[in-house]
């Protein structure tokens, strides 16, 4: 039997279901790998080994009793340390909440538990989910499994590192400006930022409730679709969550579909400042789609260069309000860059905030009607430069940090304000040996088509079966 940590999530779930391996054996394999690699990757803030083994034993007992098993039965996952589970530590990557233990579990955690998942612990993240690189002034910087000298992307840094390093089979992240797609893309994974209201945010630390999206990072398209299908859907505890019907995403991922579809490629904004080698990899991925029978169409996309300002007018007051008291009373307890990024939110006028909200439906409509009348799926780079090192992006609140943040989030940030779903998909490697990635974006609630298109590409290229040389 091959080392089970290298199985996909679907393979692991099938193995537990059929009795080829017990949940305890699978969980112990993950815990051994965590013990070996945590000193290198620093992807966990806390490992809850005892609780995880108890959950694994309970899963094995349920199977032995012949009870119905969920789609994640006995499979070890771990999540960004901002998903509340009753009584368990949830630091939010911060010093301020280093001892926080919520009284109630979040809806997504309950849904994953009901599906049978085992929870290994809380994953490293950018402090309060602010930061696109994976640096953390309090818990230490998270490291990329493909090369620990390089960043993981953020803010779901530990999610990218732990799943990419084969320490957990999938992880939840959250995405306010790219925080799922960047670590997924940078760590060689599949990650989805869903339509903004598709997944409940009840029991999830908020950063900017108009822009926050919850979604999984996983090793394959099907793995990602399975976890997403479990957490998606309306939740009465989050009245903002959509009541739109939920598609069968895993079925879509098992039904590769590209022939006859139009794949849009932007002629403006997304390739501004792009590195030649990333352009080349994006071209290669488009050629693969064309070879599969897709029509590639060039599209000029309206408004993109201004969306960042509208997102700032939205996120600033929301995050500034959440953090106001701490920014006033204990500013020294924030990392310098996080504090510097939150402070502008204290000064944005309320009328501006509401203007940005008021314009939003029109901007979304203009974007969707303009783009998706001409293509079915939009193809964009996730990060249009090679993955940088931890050292070259360790800028604190120095004069160059804002430019670095803008560079890192250039291709991801607009889609949060525009609400549409976007799936990050591995697309090969740049010369430094680090992963490259493209995003597939679609209409609101169009996630199923994204999984379908990505599955066709995955089958034709197989980048998702590559794994880092960590042993």
């Amino acid at each position: 039997m091959s080392d089970p940590v290298h199985w996909t999530l679907v393979e692991a779930a099938d193995a537990v279901d059929s009795g080829r391996i017990s949940s305890r054996e699978l969980t112990e394999a993950c815990l051994r790998r965590i013990e070996t690699l945590q000193p290198i990757l620093n992807c966990f803030i806390h490992v809850d080994a005892e609780e995880a083994l108890a959950e694994a034993d309970a899963a094995d007992s349920r199977r032995a009793r012949g009870e119905p098993l969920g789609p994640l039965h006995g499979v070890p996952l771990a999540h960004k340390d901002m998903y509340y589970a009753a009584g368990r530590l949830s630091t939010c990557g911060s010093k301020i909440r280093k001892d926080f233990r919520p009284e109630e579990s979040g809806t997504v955690m309950e849904r994953l538990s009901a599906a049978g998942a085992v929870h290994l612990g809380g994953l490293n993240m950018s402090e309060f989910a602010v930061g696109p690189t994976g640096h953390n002034a309090h818990w230490g910087h998270c490291r990329n499994p493909w090369n620990p000298a390089h960043v993981t992307g953020g803010s779901s840094s530990g999610s990218g590192s732990a799943v990419g390093g084969r320490l957990a089979f999938a992880a939840l992240g959250s995405d306010t400006g790219g925080s799922i797609r960047l670590p997924a893309g940078i760590c060689g994974l599949v990650g989805i930022k869903p339509t903004q209201t598709r997944v409940s945010r009840n029991g999830v630390m908020g950063l900017s409730f108009s822009l926050d999206s919850v979604g999984p990072l996983a090793r394959t398209v099907r793995d990602c679709a399975r976890v997403f299908g479990i957490v998606a859907g309306h939740d009465p505890k989050d009245p903002t969550s959509s009541q739109e019907p939920v598609d069968d995403y895993e079925a879509a991922a098992c039904r590769p579909e590209v022939k006859g579809l139009r794949i849009g490629v932007p002629t403006n904004y997304y390739y501004d400042g792009a590195a030649d080698e990333v352009r080349a990899l994006m071209q290669q991925s488009l050629k693969a789609f064309a070879d599969l029978g897709a029509e590639i169409v060039e599209i000029e996309i309206p408004d993109q260069e201004h969306i960042g300002d509208l997102a700032a007018a939205t996120m600033g007051p929301e995050s500034g309000t959440l953090h106001h008291a701490w920014l006033r009373d204990r500013p020294e307890d924030y990392g310098p860059q996080v504090r510097a990024r939150l402070e502008p939110g204290l000064s944005t006028p309320g009328t501006w905030y509401l203007r940005a909200q008021q314009i939003r439906p029109q901007m979304v409509r203009r974007f969707v009607e303009n783009v998706f009348s001409r293509c079915d799926v939009l193809h964009l780079p996730t990060l249009n430069v090679p993955v940088p090192t931890v050292e070259e992006t360790d800028l604190g609140d120095g004069p160059d940090f804002a430019r670095m943040v803008a560079r890192m989030t250039h291709c991801t940030r607009p889609l949060n304000y525009l609400t549409v779903p976007s799936l990050a998909v591995p697309a090969g490697f740049t010369a430094n040996g680090l992963p490259a990635s493209f995003q597939l974006a679609g209409r609101p609630f169009g996630e199923a088509l994204l999984f379908s298109v990505a599955a066709a590409y995955e089958a034709a290229t197989d980048w998702t079966s590559c794994r880092p040389a960590l042993g």
Binding site: L310, H324, P344, R355, Q358, Q362, S373, T419, R443
Partner: protein
């Protein structure tokens, strides 16, 4: 275009929130406010009285279905 000054921003934040911004943070905030102001001016004509944030949800639902090619 309206231009915001760092010192004014620092004073206003301290008066209204009690938080104290550094010189660098005030300058960054002033630059951000200047940029956002220009963008909001650009889209001023797009606003309608019946456009409220709550419409986002119905907008998303209405945009869900489009005809796939093929």
């Amino acid at each position: 275009m309206k231009r915001f000054e760092a010192e004014q921003v620092r004073d206003q934040v301290q008066r209204t929130t009690g938080a104290v911004l550094s010189e660098a943070s005030s300058a960054r905030t002033a630059r951000m406010l200047t940029a956002v102001s220009a963008t909001l001016d650009r889209y001023a004509g797009d606003s309608l009285f019946d456009t409220e944030p709550a419409l986002l949800s119905t907008t998303l639902s209405s945009l869900r279905n489009g005809s796939k090619s093929r």
